[in-house]
Symmetry: C2
Subunit: 371 residues, 2 copies
């Protein structure tokens, strides 16, 4: 029986071979460049996929919530960074985790440090979130006055260990093409190195951690960095392909959606698969249109290349509308399955709450696990 | 202890008083207008919220998936319409459901009817999906040649019962203001009545079903219709407010999000609450900006009116960025909670997988229930 026969509802297919190749490529690059790979697990959120990383020698990981840290700690991960500003309301859970594993927290202010000194007795490692140009959160690397006050607080904190500066160059997601990615990456490297130069005399063990999938995928030089934390690269998606982080063949997940209605007069195909499955993240195309996915044929062995002139043009809660060409329209039949490469694999995986491998195995996603 | 003390992560608050008032208002209007209210349960997807409808005399409901139908059948609903094109791959589940309850299916083609005649032995009721101008799916009401073939198939189907035509005027979501909603509504009423006139001689018991929250909220006249199926009105949201379906005070849900970082230099506040909590649905404002939510103060009794000049301007996976005014900035403190009125309550509820009432009670959402 093919894995396709199992499918009656929108289902997220995972090609293990592609995902493992993506993991291996990043692990080999990190080894070669002599930088620690601490992958972000927010994209897959699956203990089974985590094991594929372990097989490539990964021991330290990144997550973006306390809940994710609890989940992966339960599955044997002993060194976890929560790369998200400290959420003080989860202090009890943080304290409990810190007793079980090496826990690394992220702070964005001197006040955060004072809070941890006063309220968290169990030792943790502390990273200071640095803003290298993304402008979302963290302290701008130029704001040395602010950074000084944070580091002064850190110096007066006997129970916890200051590890270094952590940045996420999320503005690389606005880049298109290798030159644009390189510009973001250079800026990040320079700003982070300058930080280290400024503070290394006082803090000789200070480390630098960066990480976003575009820079980590497309760049080779991480000189001066101690750690990289990309996440999306395990699956990639159409957004990463448009940025220039990956080829379409590197995308490791595709949705399988039943066809439920046909509109030959307008070459439109209605899928069971909507915004509660894909997410509402969209991809603006160079021609001004926006799409929610590219359509691929499904086979016993996975999926093929995107059908020309064919895309998911709109989504409502449970419906997806595909427009195709007159030539390809006859390939769609009611009751058959259609593959869709997602725009943003992190959000699609979160909504789908699990995976089906091409071998017919169901893999877990944290969002499908009851608390 | 206040319900606020329970909250350490992004949490969807539900004001039961407002939701019950929304339900009662729609039930009273339907009664008065002598039309059956068959509410769409895809917005709340909660058996507990379903009970509030039952207390207003509702017995028949609408859902948009077989899974939702199974869930509400399990919770005692005996007459359910799946207002989504027939998904042939779920035939076994459909057959099982049809043995338990009065099941109403939606078809979009003569081929669907032939499929049901051949493959589904257990009797069901059948609605033909009519397109009154939305253009998503269904048969255009003008395409009487196509409709004729569907009704010919229906006439040769001994075990199932043809109920009538079902439409969703989803283009009302593009309307802004009562005149624009009225134009969509008039068009829908006229097209549906014309259908009935055309077919009533052959099918004297033929019924008409329409339903979308803007038209059902803002309009009073449903002459000729047998049934309305609005769904979102139970909670409403910022989109419905902008369309003109509701007042801001009618919105029955708000997110509660911890504040995790402050950026006084740009009047920005970082929330724990991102696209995996809110969804990526955005609201375009008349001034050209887009927002992901409006910020409201939280109190022991619920939430207040939106803070002026303050909105969620961007979302990443777990972060929300609020921009406020210099005057209001000091109201935000790290570790405190902020309320956010959602842009699209259906998607936010689906992502949040459950509710917290102002009385501190946790209510279920189907997406949080393991299969």
């Amino acid at each position: 029986m093919s894995f396709l026969d199992q499918i009656s509802e929108p289902t997220l297919l995972l090609n293990e071979t592609i995902a493992r190749a993506n993991i291996r490529r990043m692990a080999e690059k990190a080894n070669w460049q002599n930088v620690r790979l601490r992958p972000h697990f927010k994209t897959h959120q699956s203990w089974q996929v985590g094991e594929w990383f372990r097989e490539e020698g990964i021991t330290d990981i990144t997550v973006s919530s306390v809940k994710m840290a609890q989940y992966f700690a339960k599955h044997g991960w002993q060194d976890i960074t929560i790369a998200f500003p400290l959420n003080r309301r989860q202090l009890p859970q943080i304290a409990e985790l810190a007793q079980q594993i090496t826990l690394n927290l992220t702070v964005t202010s001197a006040d955060d440090v004072a809070f941890l000194r006063e309220h968290l007795k169990v030792p943790v490692n502390i990273w200071v979130k640095a803003d290298t140009g993304y402008g979302r959160t963290g302290i701008r690397t130029e704001d040395t006055a602010v950074l000084d006050t944070v580091l002064q607080e850190l110096a007066q904190m006997p129970q916890h260990t200051f590890k270094g500066f952590l940045a996420h160059a999320g503005h690389s997601y606005k880049a298109r093409g290798v030159e644009a990615i390189a510009a973001v990456h250079q800026q990040t490297l320079e700003k982070m190195r300058a930080l280290k130069e400024h503070y290394v005399a006082a803090w000789p063990h200070l480390q630098l951690s960066i990480g976003d999938t575009p820079c980590c995928s497309a760049m080779e030089d991480f000189s001066g960095m101690d750690e990289i934390r990309p996440g999306n690269f395990v699956f990639y998606d159409l957004t990463q392909n448009q940025i220039g982080s990956c080829q379409l063949e590197d995308i490791a997940v595709a949705m399988a959606c039943p066809v439920v209605a046909l509109h030959p007069d307008r070459n439109e195909v209605i899928l069971y698969g909507g915004s509660v499955h894909f997410s509402k993240d969209m991809l603006p195309l160079p021609d001004g249109r926006t799409i929610f996915g590219l359509v691929v044929p499904l086979t016993e062995n996975g999926w093929g290349v995107p059908l020309p002139g064919t895309a998911v043009l709109s989504l409502s809660q449970e419906h997806g509308v595909v427009r195709t060409t007159p030539e390809l329209f006859s390939q769609f039949g009611i009751g058959s399955l259609v593959g869709v490469l997602p725009v943003h694999s992190c959000l699609t995986a979160d909504l789908m709450k699990g995976y089906l491998t091409l071998q017919g195995e169901r893999l877990e996603h944290l969002s499908g696990v009851n608390a």
